[in-house]
Symmetry: D3
Subunit: 241 residues, 6 copies
Amino acid sequence: MARPDGRQPDQLRPVTLTRKWSIHPEGSVLVEFGETRVLCTASVTEGVPRWRKGSGLGWVTAEYSMLPRATTTRSDRESVKGRIGGRTHEISRLIGRSLRACIDLKALGENSVVLDCDVLQADGGTRTAAITGAYVALHDAVTWLGERKALAGKPEKVMHRSVAAVSVGIIGGEPRLDLNYAEDVTADVDMNVVCTGDGDFVEVQGTGEAGVFARDQLDALLDLGVLGCMELTEAQRKALS
Amino acid sequence: MARPDGRQPDQLRPVTLTRKWSIHPEGSVLVEFGETRVLCTASVTEGVPRWRKGSGLGWVTAEYSMLPRATTTRSDRESVKGRIGGRTHEISRLIGRSLRACIDLKALGENSVVLDCDVLQADGGTRTAAITGAYVALHDAVTWLGERKALAGKPEKVMHRSVAAVSVGIIGGEPRLDLNYAEDVTADVDMNVVCTGDGDFVEVQGTGEAGVFARDQLDALLDLGVLGCMELTEAQRKALS
Amino acid sequence: MARPDGRQPDQLRPVTLTRKWSIHPEGSVLVEFGETRVLCTASVTEGVPRWRKGSGLGWVTAEYSMLPRATTTRSDRESVKGRIGGRTHEISRLIGRSLRACIDLKALGENSVVLDCDVLQADGGTRTAAITGAYVALHDAVTWLGERKALAGKPEKVMHRSVAAVSVGIIGGEPRLDLNYAEDVTADVDMNVVCTGDGDFVEVQGTGEAGVFARDQLDALLDLGVLGCMELTEAQRKALS
Amino acid sequence: MARPDGRQPDQLRPVTLTRKWSIHPEGSVLVEFGETRVLCTASVTEGVPRWRKGSGLGWVTAEYSMLPRATTTRSDRESVKGRIGGRTHEISRLIGRSLRACIDLKALGENSVVLDCDVLQADGGTRTAAITGAYVALHDAVTWLGERKALAGKPEKVMHRSVAAVSVGIIGGEPRLDLNYAEDVTADVDMNVVCTGDGDFVEVQGTGEAGVFARDQLDALLDLGVLGCMELTEAQRKALS
Amino acid sequence: MARPDGRQPDQLRPVTLTRKWSIHPEGSVLVEFGETRVLCTASVTEGVPRWRKGSGLGWVTAEYSMLPRATTTRSDRESVKGRIGGRTHEISRLIGRSLRACIDLKALGENSVVLDCDVLQADGGTRTAAITGAYVALHDAVTWLGERKALAGKPEKVMHRSVAAVSVGIIGGEPRLDLNYAEDVTADVDMNVVCTGDGDFVEVQGTGEAGVFARDQLDALLDLGVLGCMELTEAQRKALS
Amino acid sequence: MARPDGRQPDQLRPVTLTRKWSIHPEGSVLVEFGETRVLCTASVTEGVPRWRKGSGLGWVTAEYSMLPRATTTRSDRESVKGRIGGRTHEISRLIGRSLRACIDLKALGENSVVLDCDVLQADGGTRTAAITGAYVALHDAVTWLGERKALAGKPEKVMHRSVAAVSVGIIGGEPRLDLNYAEDVTADVDMNVVCTGDGDFVEVQGTGEAGVFARDQLDALLDLGVLGCMELTEAQRKALS
């Protein structure tokens, strides 16, 4: 069974990471995984939230959102509904945790960085594209802080690891890398894998969307996820060099 | 006193209108007035809100929003605050009224179009760029409906007028066209002019931001606003041809 | 075509400004434009919002609201709906801007005044009545501050201009002053004009409710609006003397 | 110890009930208990809420609110805070229950009446003034329905009882009728008594604000409350005749 | 007419007060009035709300809530609805006032206690059970503070009174003590009586749910309420000894 | 390094599943994993949400919440804050997905079941205890529907799998089963494993709380998680027999 866009099962969609897409933020990256397009910006503010003051530690947090017509049919804005949905909350928290795994908050010093990941166009894998792009935006923001002598440690110490993420899934019994929307809705199992540039895991989330999955299926998905993250790590390195 | 970007007082910033920027919406335009960048999408749904059912009339509405880091410093998301601010409300209403002025709701038939205007980058004039871009997105959406034989009247009857908008202001006594952010914050008077392609007014909103203004100043601003709208109308015509 | 209440096209409705309508506020005015009845109160507090502290400047803001049955049919309360509607926001902001145009915030010193404009009965022109009445309430509140030696400048310097507002519109081709509700809903063009006592403009907002308008129509409406504001200024002077 | 306004312990403040204060509502009464001033309007709509449809029964409900500067210091609007406070909820429910006690919902037929009680000026006893005024507004609304032949029963059957309310309290050991604000804040015990025109109880709510109270104190307060309600009943009869 | 559970008209349901039901709170009591089951916890924090700082006085407040399926049919969660209902507000306020009546806030010193009363199962009388149980939880929390030398006065001075509450009502003309749900919905008059251990009243709230009530009925209900509170006081004493 | 409560690394805390803990719900289970105590109720309603009507499919959803003092320090209620937090949303969604994995929605027919999981006391593992208990409550609710001949398929077909969940983590390099709170806060890696009674995976969520984790660590945690789920499955079987 061929993939809708003719890819091999273990092939990523074309990935682009466009740095400095916006003029205002300290870091800004337009990340594209095929037709999925996410604008990741990193906003620096001096100081940290009140509960963290005096700790010597910095703070990194993330907010994910979709434009109402990023998807095939329009969704109501969460600002209009007056409340943030469960899916948005869940993804924002995942991005935040993933990015905090690649940063040394002590070396960051008492600075705060907010990573805004706004999905301009969605075609599957928005949360993993967001993590992959946000890493590059965060890297640029930390460099910006370093240039201003505003870090407690050296920039390379602050960003002591890289982090990237990809979705994997099983469709018709076949494990596949980087699902697009058409694949995502038909997947039996869906997993998001977040890895460091060294191939260690930061986060693993697997769900039997339409059923359950056995240990050997889980193992195959993890292998594929690590493979994808390694390629994305390489794309991040190129973008940052 | 020269303008910050060296323009003549009656000169627009470079304007681009990129159609089909997104793959999902029935109409989508990335409009740029210099560094101001707004994504305007038109989303069609069959039918109208309950209170309008059976009237034979269509419905067009607009929602304006800014990404949190579209601006020089980050703003909190309205979805996180749980409420929409007064400025957002005010601008969404202005865009909706302006677009309804250029469409024959009877010829549209019982279809609804939502115009989402999301500011990806702000440098003054976001509301007028949004109106100018949303007109083109709406035009594409109406063409799309026409191709599906879903209109009550002919497409050219539905879009019986074009509409464009521009800001004008007085800075240091000089009337200027299409203010960028640096000019906007120092303007004594600030006015938004919304015109049809025939040079009639759809909406006029003038505010003495830092003082008051005399009738001759108002007249000069109106002249300049009409002039700017005529140029924008021409840009819309080119984009649509 | 006669007006519903037999007025001349350039004739205001009977205007009354009842000062000290309430016992608690530092300024309180019941303003009536015909059947439209708005209670304007000015509440003084020492100090200014946090973001303005130490600036030496005062602060004036306004909140507009309608009682649920001020209108012909009952509207749900915004407190019950849990959110403020776009129209309310828009009008509150207009009133605030208009009143700040007539006050010297430096001479006010670090004092805050909130102008609450609650519509007890609506028959068109509620926002313009509110501005006209709120000016008188603000004047009384500034006098009150002056009596307590709490101003940074002299009272007459604080209130260095007067401000009044009126609606104008075109009905059946005829420009008319101070529309009541029956006229408002049938107007082709609707404009609110806010002027100082010297006839300068503070704010001009014109909307083609049912179509568009040409420059000569706009000019006729502006003439009429200034005329109306001058009469209202006279009424304010009498009330304050 | 004399009362602040020189009244006898068992003396009401001057009471006025001004019918038809507003032009739009089916019933509208400005009720004044001394300086306390509440606008009570009765809004009729045909039909009942969904959960009551087909029952043959009508529905009466009430909403209480205070203007922000009805009090000596300004309170934030509940619409701005985005939520209704506990006190407002509690009073709205009390008014609703009290008015439903005086109306035969079967004879009302499937009509709904909303009683809006907006405090324009507060000086103690706002909830009891609201109940007393709302009864008269409801009576007018029922008469209005009767004139349109829209009731299931005869008007006099619909309004089969009258209802009035008054506050009583103990200050310095002395039971007093109809406390004003200055007395209310110093009362040891505070009680609201809602009675029918026949002297039966509809609702009794007593609170030991600053301590507790014995049975004989409770008895004295009940006597005083019934006495006050009888006088208010007489004022309602006069207003309605 | 026998009671649904065979009790005498003046007989309470079996009452149990289980202290230390939870391991975390400073005081925690599972109170049961028959099938009604409320978890009352007392949470201590050092310090008081900002508006009370430096007063030397402590603060006690209460929050009441029902689990969604505490009742025969499921209710939506107030957290999901995004707002607290009127009934919840009303009961939380009643519990808070009642508990503050039994505590000397000066002797408590600048400490705060929140009493959370969560109804795990409802069968009538949840608010009175909550008050009765919360007293015991508060007592334990004060003892806990005393053991840590954190009170301004002696523990027995802090808790200078006990407080208990019970519902009474008239069903088919008969006054009954401690209504269960089946009785509550058929009651003509419903009253909640809150008493100190000495038989004084803290709060009395009577409502003619389905009609009105005469003075002798009110007297009979008060007698019954005091009787019930005395028995509950005895149960509290046993639980605390 | 010994565990705080002396358990072996692969040992569960004492597990109890008390059925019919509440009288009203169609299924109700108090589940305890050591000191963690969650009340799981299953509420049945006929019919399904509007968007699912006519599909022949049933619906199962879950809501998770914590009592404010379930934890060592009190948390504000989400109903008081007016919004549901990200953690609550995330867990509610996880429970809902897990339970839907064990039920045949076609055999359920057009019935809805809401699973409310309210944490009465928290000591780590509340979400996994909730899933484990909710399965039993759902089973009882399906049996209840079966007894009323309200299912589209046979009860054993509706509940075609069992589901249980447990947390695992690495502390000081050692993989451990069923972490309590003291262990949870010190874990380097934290994973929740949801399994069917046959040992297949429903959901796997692993997070490097304080660092990252290698593939062999992940494998060890998965082994331990499956082991724990098998024991919990046995406890569920006993409870249901």
